[in-house]
Symmetry: C3
Subunit: 438 residues, 3 copies
Amino acid sequence: MNVKKLILRIAVPIGVFAMMGIFASPAEAKGLEQETVFSAVDTVWVLIAAFLVFFMQCGFGFLEAGFVRSKNVVNIMAENIMDTTATTVGFIIAGFGLMFGSGNAFFGTEWFFLQGMPDVYPGLTIPILAFFFFQFAFSAAASTIASGLMAERTDFRADLIYSFFTGLLIYPIFGHWVWGGGWLAELGFTDFAGSSVVHLVGALIGLAGTIVLGKRKDKEFGGETIRGHNMPLAALGTFILWLGWFGFNPGSQLAADPEAIALITVTTDFAATTGAIVAMLLSFAHTKKWDPGMAMNGCLGGLVAITAPCAFVTPMAALVIGIIAGAIVYYGTALMEIVRIDDPVGAFPVHGLNGIFGILAVGIWGTDGLGLLHGGGFTQLGIQALGILACIAFVFPTAYVLFQVIKRTVGLRVTPEVETTGIDLVYHGIGSYPEFVE
Amino acid sequence: MNVKKLILRIAVPIGVFAMMGIFASPAEAKGLEQETVFSAVDTVWVLIAAFLVFFMQCGFGFLEAGFVRSKNVVNIMAENIMDTTATTVGFIIAGFGLMFGSGNAFFGTEWFFLQGMPDVYPGLTIPILAFFFFQFAFSAAASTIASGLMAERTDFRADLIYSFFTGLLIYPIFGHWVWGGGWLAELGFTDFAGSSVVHLVGALIGLAGTIVLGKRKDKEFGGETIRGHNMPLAALGTFILWLGWFGFNPGSQLAADPEAIALITVTTDFAATTGAIVAMLLSFAHTKKWDPGMAMNGCLGGLVAITAPCAFVTPMAALVIGIIAGAIVYYGTALMEIVRIDDPVGAFPVHGLNGIFGILAVGIWGTDGLGLLHGGGFTQLGIQALGILACIAFVFPTAYVLFQVIKRTVGLRVTPEVETTGIDLVYHGIGSYPEFVE
Amino acid sequence: MNVKKLILRIAVPIGVFAMMGIFASPAEAKGLEQETVFSAVDTVWVLIAAFLVFFMQCGFGFLEAGFVRSKNVVNIMAENIMDTTATTVGFIIAGFGLMFGSGNAFFGTEWFFLQGMPDVYPGLTIPILAFFFFQFAFSAAASTIASGLMAERTDFRADLIYSFFTGLLIYPIFGHWVWGGGWLAELGFTDFAGSSVVHLVGALIGLAGTIVLGKRKDKEFGGETIRGHNMPLAALGTFILWLGWFGFNPGSQLAADPEAIALITVTTDFAATTGAIVAMLLSFAHTKKWDPGMAMNGCLGGLVAITAPCAFVTPMAALVIGIIAGAIVYYGTALMEIVRIDDPVGAFPVHGLNGIFGILAVGIWGTDGLGLLHGGGFTQLGIQALGILACIAFVFPTAYVLFQVIKRTVGLRVTPEVETTGIDLVYHGIGSYPEFVE
């Protein structure tokens, strides 16, 4: 019975612009005259970077799959494939236009259904479709990050719906403020590759989600951890994400500027390095165990923290940022237990707390007068802090309302029986390892 | 006893051109004078695209491995590694020459053993070895697609032999007709990146194979499905294939033309998106389960369908093509049960039926006067249909005869006992998870 | 209690240059003026190649994980993540400077802590940070190769320590001799992409390690093999490594020279192809089983052997080199049993013996007067042999002493009880598959 509603909600929009697409081709074709403005090497760089960012969907999927129990793994996999598609649809319909179209300080008002776009985004040397694809891959990351906090108990239809709205509305509106010429950009708020736009947004959506959902039935705060079922899969996810970040950060230069992309590659890698080392050492210092999950999340925390400042800091500062990021992951994970928020894969310390830290790091270590330590004074740091507050003030309540609406209509959480049995068999009709677990 | 024959068949040709190679270096060296014709950025683009296409061997391997039972997984893995090598050898000996060398309307007659090649393929700006490597990766995909239809019961030596002949003969000859200046190319048949040349050819070889083999012992048509053993592995394969397609399609431009490669990237992704959505929604509408296999195969079906028209359609048309492709995967999978053909991984609906649909899609949605909806009339559509018939008429009987010959000599199918025990232990001497399954 | 020592040893150096980093930014910033010397396409090529080489850490991790028992898999994963970071730290502190800084015939004496570097490495067209990142990825590969020989019994802290010293000292010093303008380079020793610098060095460190460690308790030479626990993971590792090699070898051109990178791509792939075929055929000829491990290691052996000569040989010669490399892997694996050295993943035949063979192959098949078969005479071959001896004479004793020092201080080997239980639970506090194995 819910099928019809779902089809109406998701398939009809697709149908609408499918129809439009058949007749709308002139909009795309007209651009082919101005070819001289494009740089082949810039386009190659941005597209390959976008492919790496796209592949982070796989990385997130495996990180999450490794950290959950085997009875919910098919669900994680299906969700990581399908939220890519749901975000795409949302980003096509309105997300890209709201984020990057001209408009006002709060949202863009053109390019819906990709209609009326110019050949090139102002200031760039790549086709606008290359820019679109790179940005779509970012939006998909935001909704996938949220899914980590909501793992093991969210209804699959709810997954699809919030992913769609993430790509359609939440991600693009905050994105417009920062990257689309909106009010935060006007103020000078600086987030090079998305510590706030992607990671903090995703983490706040997920935080709202996990709060509305409540904890997993079996979760005991401060007690025995619910163990992930497959550490090699989690490690695979980590390596793929680390690789993908070399698209995420250096690709955000949006041009193959040699010195910039080389510097960003190195700062990105350095923060991952010290993030992993520090989280690992702290886990050993406290528990006498070398916790592999801490190596992985410490690495990812370093990557999130360096995402905003990667283009504006020295390699040495990147090492410092990673060190702090690793400590944030370790103590942040403990904090989640204390505040009793169930975060099955540790996504909030990684993407939320380090998203915040990354934004602040611009105001501390940013060179060329951006940061406190390089003559920037407290102004930039204040603007960065304001941006964080704006992000929280917009994203968290919006997502909270969205989840409440989903809860009262389609339903947000699976039944207790399904949670016990596992989402895989009930919702997807197949277990993750049918010969080994039933 | 068969070792000797096999060594004679496979090792001797290698030995022959090994000997030739030692003395043949002048052929390669002479080209170094004309360096000015080459474009560095085009070469970088095509090589990286080729690496992504090459990595699709891994993607196909894991998709198949996930969809079969654990007792045959080592076999799948060994096969995906070794058919890459067998196809390479075939493509070196004669495949590349038959496909791209000058000759007649039906096959090329030069460049065997890579001898006598010019530095650059006519009309391109990349070294011919870069072009060779890109095309070799395509040929490997064709033979790997076939292996999906033949999984869980094919003799390993037979696998090597048909892969060799796929790279040596079947793939290159049809390829010459379309991409090597052959008779279909002359007629105006249009297949941008290989919906027919790679996917339909691979699927038809596999179809002949599964028909000659017969169904798996345990397969009951219309009854309970034989479940794949590992959904995460299948999802990994899907993500790697999706990534690889960003090499497959945009790389087929064979130059870093900014507008073309950006458009192709977007059309490729859009068809995957709606393909996954529609196949998933149909599975839910019919079974109330969100079948992960349908998300995966729907996505891949969209990718196959967009492969031929990706450079000639608008992004919106790509969404429509994906929608239809997703439906073809869903209903095509049901059709295979009705016609009682055993296709363990669902390869025929994905690569065969959507290969056909992709070719027709050029004649429907192709812009610039190619397609029905853009003023192209029925001529192009007719030529596209003719190409499909030519593909079927050449590939299926040729492959059928090849499999019959293999069946009567080396043997095509494992014994019923081996099929029960699993190919892994008997042929490869090790199980996929020795500690967990024996 | 060892925590403190460890923190002192690892964290303090990090802290030191962290402090330095905060104040040292001018060193990086000053370079931004000379932008004209850089080539965007060369930088894009080298960075993407470096990303692929970086991803080989994941490939090595999964190859090793698949070949060991499930009780030690978390350890392998943690080690592959953490040795990347430990090598990075060593390479930053002194490795890069010792290897590439100006100095004397034996080591460089500048650029420690990345201070005082010019914008561009002499002779190149890419930013020095891009060059640094590419080279760091190589150093990480060397220490990871060593870990394969030492799997399933090495203390985790020892892993971190020797990885650190590999990146700090051992790898860079031999590297300086060959690639940093040292005495072997002066003599004309030729190793294009690192058959000796990376592979033989890594294998010799691992050989010293396994000799100091002694065999695994359960290992019986010439008897039943200890089986790897997960063949799909090993196959995944192989495919990722094969992919990564397309960064490793063609990237070592350090510029997007079309003819060179196309040739290197093809020679690299061809050697992998025949390496896999020959090792597989030999395993079948001797055991009547198609051993998947031989397909994988044969492929990798071919890749190692072609690494030194990849830019200097014809594609046909690459096929011959792969054939011999495959045989070296097969018989070398048998040899390890005879000489009673425990090499859990077969790393020494792959990286050590084929590293040696690859260096010699330059002197045999090298075109343009390098090799015996192309008019080179015995001089080059003699220099190549001398380089091998120098590598062995420096690396093996140095590593041996390092492992003896570790053994007498921190401890090199886990206790017999830990070895029986598995390193995962005792050292890392979690098993690889907590629901399936405890």
